[in-house]
Subunit: 470 residues, 2 copies
């Protein structure tokens, strides 16, 4: 009996959002599937990233929005309830238990195997479970969806100081008195904002000139200004040379210029590394600890016969929950289509033309596709158009003192948009309009017939198109 | 000298948002232009409709949003400041003065002629100004942008009762003790919500089964539920047979079944009629008091030689500020292109395929293109897909108790979207994604590559596409 149970069409390693979506997709195509998970079904996004961080960020943001509108302001003069915010976060993190995810697996006929899974041969995964070792035979495919871990850089004393990563920073049971954040990416700025809003003294240490250095510069500048207005001490163009956890439990962070930042906790948010060290990659000739290179059908390039797939962070294509889920849908369809059908399956083109990002600070930053710099690097015949969202009636109605900025990056040969960035309150829902314009390659000539409703913030589209001569 | 001044390339009658946009557009093309206005430059939208109504609605809505989020709720327990809301409205209505609009006209080289303008011949407009009669010669074109007036139906006693229209309801200096609203369209539901939020006892009298009867039924049902939850007494499937303003200044509204609604004021919001009664239409063979029929280049069909244009409400194409501005941009381009160039100008196709509407209630209702019923009437091979927005993580993060619904209407032959309706908080900015999909005729196969960011409400797109089999 055991042998029958342990043979599946597809075995997925890692039950984060990407793995769940691969499993759900192939199950939907009628295939049998096992999913292997050593920690929590649902993955980092559900417990240590996107979901709980937004659960913490939304209360201070919506309160600030209410206070930005005359009439509501007078009714919102109380104090943010720290306890209620942390409870909200705990609830959205399902109290770090995954019971709530199991019915979904069951309903989709997906077998969950709890334990550490490793490749142990061609089409074979071996799992160390509490009840012993199980060998899973994957008749059709294995999909690696193990994601990524926080990268802790080699700074003297840092590891010994037991720094927070996103995991500890998102699940901390109480507000630290003070927090030093190393890194100015999305994780850094979101968590700095969250803990500052809840009362911590926060210092941010950013290597570049501004946070969000990979995005358009006006986005980083806007967030830098907002963080400082919030009372966060932001040091830019700095390096950390040493970290020391002292006897009293506090931490000293020494900067390149000799200055010392003293804090109760230190958060490292300097990047990610692939979770592939202990995955048996060597069995199939891949290097443990490296990102896994896949083609646009999510097939591992280095492995013959097309039975090994990877999707999500572990591929290093786009380290974002929603892009992982996108890859998962395509990966699942390709696996289900089989060798013959795969050729007609869609490829994961969005990874190269339309990666979407939202940074949930106040103001929000939302971008899709290429920045101006990236478009120039790709030799696009670039035309850039900027407009102040604060000029739009819908924005002024949203907040009495609205600040925002929008940019479109246009391919002037093809008259299509190849990138867009919006900064301001409420722009996270505006982004998908640009994403559809880019993916649909809708020409500027056609876009003039897409009429945003008055008075919405979306009317920024009119001004951008008008500035482009439409 | 006077004769020179009184000859222009273009004369625009009506300086509402549509007229301003026609004038701005032709001025941008280097033409001389006069704009004639008998009341306030900026038009109804700026003073008696969209802008001030949203200024009144935003404070209660953002306060409700804050109260829907644990942590913020505890800080937002105060009372909405009625005085501050009315001050906010007054400010957004520029205190019903148009000084703020004049620099824009000046900067664009547009001459403002204050007074009532009437067609007095071919390419000729005569204006009664305070300083006497001026005759404006329009070398190229006259554009009629006089908009619409509230329609007051023939109900015994109604006119004599001096009911509020949108004008009085939006500019009332203080909150009425009680208000009876006749009509369940966008104006009715928005103003009923606004005054209820500010403390009035509100009764709504709706002829149809539900408010917003021209939209998808689930939208009207959601708004009906929300109005009732707000404490508005909504009577559906009713008729008003008599209205009586009594000696004490209050009003009795008698319904078809004999019931009487007693209120301090009565608001009529049952539709619009063209503002064309006193416009000299008879001079060019058109019927005063009628809507003006135009082609997709905004040329008045009944007038030869193509010198007479009309745009905005007065054309009855789509009675919405943003659609009027859209027509204005096209009209201006067509006028500037002249007889020969006009053929290659874009036509106002959005009026028939992608009219956008947002009703700013809580929840918001946002729609574009065809409803299911309208698509079936047009013999589209319809496929409809619905999804509960409350299931989306981004929605639950937005409000702890999010309610919402989305529908796409798909042309199953062409695999493109022809209509979309969203109901819920924050959906007004989501709408433009659907508008671009419809206008761009982006296929469903292509839309799967437009990846909404997690966790936004825009992820509703994933579920809708998944339900459609993508």
């Amino acid at each position: 009996m055991d042998e029958t149970l342990d043979s599946y069409d597809v075995v997925v390693i890692g039950a984060g959002s990407t793995g769940e979506n691969v499993a759900g997709r192939v199950a939907g195509h009628g295939m049998s599937v096992a999913i292997v998970e050593s920690h929590l079904v649902g993955g980092d996004c559900s417990y240590y990233a996107c979901t709980p961080s937004k659960a913490m960020l939304r209360p201070p943001h919506v309160l600030a929005e209410a206070r930005a509108v005359a009439g509501a302001r007078e009714a919102a003069t109380g104090t943010l309830s720290v306890d209620a915010v942390l409870e909200r976060r705990d609830k959205f993190a399902s109290h770090w238990k995954d019971d709530g995810q199991l019915p979904w697996l069951r309903d989709h006929g997906i077998d969950l195997v709890r334990g550490r899974g490793r490749l142990s041969g061609v089409r074979e995964v071996t799992v160390e479970t509490d009840a012993g070792v199980r060998v899973l035979d994957a008749r059709r495919a294995v999909a690696i969806c193990t994601g990524s871990d926080p990268l802790v850089p080699d700074i003297p004393g840092l590891r010994a100081a037991q720094p927070w990563t996103n995991r500890e920073a998102i699940s901390a049971p109480r507000v630290p008195e003070s927090l030093a954040v190393i890194g100015g990416g999305a994780v850094g700025v979101e968590l700095a904002s969250a803990w500052k809003s809840l009362g911590a003294d926060v210092t941010m240490l950013v290597r570049e000139e501004r946070p969000l250095a990979k995005m358009e510069t006006f986005a980083g500048d806007a967030v830098l200004g907002a963080l400082r207005e919030l009372g966060i001490w932001v040091v830019t163009e700095t390096t950390v040379v040493e970290v020391d956890r002292k006897a009293d439990g506090t931490v000293d962070v020494t900067l390149g210029d000799g200055a010392v930042v003293h804090a109760q906790e230190v958060l490292v948010a300097t990047g990610r590394e692939p979770r592939t060290r202990d995955l048996g990659l060597e069995v199939v000739g891949l290097a443990p600890g490296e990102w896994i290179d896949v083609d646009d059908h999510l097939r591992v390039r280095a492995v013959a016969e097309g039975w090994l797939y990877a999707a999500g962070d572990v591929t290093h294509r786009a380290l974002l929950t929603h892009m992982g889920k996108y890859q998962a849908r395509i990966c699942g369809d390709v696996i289900a289509a089989g060798d013959e059908g795969a050729a007609s399956c869609p490829a994961a083109i969005a990874d190269s033309i339309a990666v979407t990002r939202v940074v949930f600070t106040d103001p929000e930053v939302a971008s899709v596709g290429l920045s101006e710099a990236a478009a120039r690097e790709r030799k696009v015949n670039v035309k850039v158009v900027d407009f102040d969202i604060g000029q739009i009636a819908g924005a002024r109605l949203h907040s009495d003192d609205y600040h925002g900025q929008a940019r479109l990056v246009v391919d002037d040969d093809r008259h299509v948009i190849v990138g867009a960035t919006f900064v301001g309150r409420g722009v996270s829902e505006l982004l998908h309009s640009a994403t559809i314009a880019i993916v649909g390659e809708v020409t500027l000539e056609r876009l003039r017939h897409a009429v945003p409703a008055f008075p919405t913030i979306s009317e920024i589209w009119l001004r951008l198109l008008e500035t482009l001569g439409y």
